[in-house]
């Protein structure tokens, strides 16, 4: 199998998967329950999610391991099972992906702040290292460090992946739109800060996830492309903003609405498009259709 980077270099536009967290909730995950524990408790349900994205036409799927670092798992007394949980997560997604689609091991933030002295850089690095190695052992061929807001934490994660695995490394951050239309993470990192720092740390692909729908993602990709025309760019957009209806949180952007922005996102320079919170296999199916038309 070619690497994602090789496929992109050969001119391919690729489609990633949609939401995992909101999907798990639909399948019965309770607030306050550890999502990653389901890899051991209910692997069949997790496999169902992975399979539904493969069936929708995703070229790559993530793993149910976003909060699978020692810091987050320790809130559930699972800090001794980091490797095992991540290995299981990757094994499930690999089972759905087979040998010709990519498995992206998901690595989210720890929730600890370096600048406040909560943790040291070395502690973060070690935590990400264990997680990354577990994901690779379970069959991930790429690792996606995602929803990052702090450059140093993202650097620790990307370096831990680069130094200790042979996976491709992707890093995406979550940006908010400022009143003047520019984008920053809550820690003040701009897309222009992200690109050189993550390339230097060893990332092969960079981008943005969560926090925004497709429309805002266009502005973020523009900012990235303004300083780097070459680096492969991945976008995981939300299905719009969350809306609370009848005791339930829903994301209202329909598959058609999301798909409508897809060509613009591609024109801006995105190479891989997928979804984050609220996107379903139906959204992905629609995006796959649009991307196919764009490729022909």
């Amino acid at each position: 199998m070619k690497t994602i980077t090789q496929e992109i270099q050969s001119g391919k536009l690729m489609v990633s998967d949609g939401a995992w967290g909101t999907f798990l909730q639909q399948m019965g995950l309770q607030p306050g329950e550890c999502p990653e524990s389901w890899n051991l408790k209910y692997p069949d349900r997790v496999l169902e999610i992975a399979q539904s994205y493969i069936d929708a036409g995703s070229d790559m799927i993530e793993t149910n391991s976003f909060g699978g670092n020692a810091f987050k798992l320790s809130m559930f007394g699972l800090e001794d099972k980091v490797y095992e949980i991540n290995e299981a997560a990757a094994r499930i997604s690999r089972k759905a992906a087979g040998s010709n689609r990519h498995v992206l091991g998901s690595i989210g933030p720890t929730g600890k702040m370096l600048m406040m002295g909560d943790v040291t850089y070395e502690q973060l690095y070690e935590a990400f290292k264990t997680q990354a190695m577990g994901l690779e052992a379970g069959g991930a061929d790429a690792l996606v460090v995602e929803t990052m807001t702090d450059l140093e934490e993202a650097t620790a994660a990307v370096r831990a992946c680069r130094d200790n695995t042979s996976c491709e490394v992707i890093c995406t951050m979550t940006f908010d739109k400022s009143p003047d239309g520019s984008f920053f993470t809550m820690m003040g990192v701009s897309p222009a800060d992200l690109v050189p720092a993550m390339i230097d740390a060893g990332a092969n692909i960079i981008g943005a996830n969560c926090g925004n729908g497709m429309e805002n993602m266009i502005g973020i990709v523009n900012e990235i492309r303004a300083i780097d025309p070459e680096i492969p760019v991945l976008v995981h957009a939300n299905a719009g903003a969350p809306v609370y209806k009848n005791g339930e949180t829903v994301f209202l952007e329909t598959p058609d609405q999301m798909a409508q922005f897809t060509p613009l996102l591609i024109d801006a320079g995105a190479n891989i498009i997928g979804g984050c919170c609220g996107t379903t296999p139906d959204h992905i199916r629609k995006i796959v259709e649009v991307v196919k038309l764009k490729t022909v």
Partner: protein, 224 residues
């Protein structure tokens, strides 16, 4: 250095996050006295603790909150300012305890049950404290029972509820309902990435704060 100049310098330390003399941040103020030293000097000089609080600390944190809500500064700058303010507050503690300096009121805050995220909640707590309120922080994963116990102990307090996850919004609704059933007059304000004013009105909370500064504005209006 005169009194006004000292208070102005102290305010700058808080605004730009100069904790003490040895603190490396911000680089532009390297080697200068920080909030720690200047607060001690102010008290030694005989400046009233209430003046230090109002004219330097609250004044500076107000600017910080304002800049944050305009996205001119971000979380790191806000945290370092809050750290400088807390350092100054340590020197004022005896005066709060003796009753010589009064706070504006009490604010109970917590992240709702099922939600373990504390960054946003902590930011609000720091800025509200910096605005002159006593903050009672119940932490994360706080259920209705814990909120009600705290209200029972502090019946005049205003209560803030935080949620980051869309999945814990229903818990927020439940907790607001339970608190209001027992304490209909307690003011409840909500915040967090997925909530908005529409949600606030749907669940019967009193205020919605998109950022820490608006929580302060809401609280201050209650005691104005």
């Amino acid at each position: 250095m005169g009194q006004n100049e000292l208070l102005q310098k102290l305010a700058e330390c808080v605004e730009f996050g100069k904790v003490n003399k040895t603190a490396p941040y911000p680089p532009a103020m390297k080697g200068q006295d920080g909030a720690d030293e200047l607060t001690r000097q102010a008290l030694e000089m005989g400046i009233k603790p209430s003046e230090i609080l109002n004219d330097a600390l609250i004044f500076a944190m107000d600017k910080v909150g304002e800049k944050f809500s305009q996205k001119k500064i971000f979380v790191p700058q806000m945290l370092i300012s809050a750290k400088a303010m807390n350092t100054a507050m340590e020197h004022l503690k005896p005066y709060f305890q003796s009753g010589e300096v009064k706070r504006k009121g009490k604010f109970i805050i917590g992240t709702v049950s099922g939600d373990l995220h504390d960054i946003g909640k902590n930011l609000v707590a720091m800025i509200v404290e910096g605005a002159g309120w006593e903050v009672i922080d119940l932490g994360v994963d706080v259920d209705a029972g814990k909120f009600k116990t705290a209200i029972g102990e502090n019946p005049d307090a205003v209560v803030g509820l935080s949620a980051l996850l869309t999945t814990t919004m229903p818990n927020m609704q439940k907790i607001v309902g339970e608190i209001k059933a027992q304490y209909p007059n307690v003011k409840l304000i909500i915040g967090g990435a997925p909530v908005n004013d529409e949600f606030r009105s749907e669940i019967g909370a009193d205020g919605y704060s998109p950022d820490p500064q608006s929580a302060v504005a809401y609280l201050n209006a209650l005691v104005a």
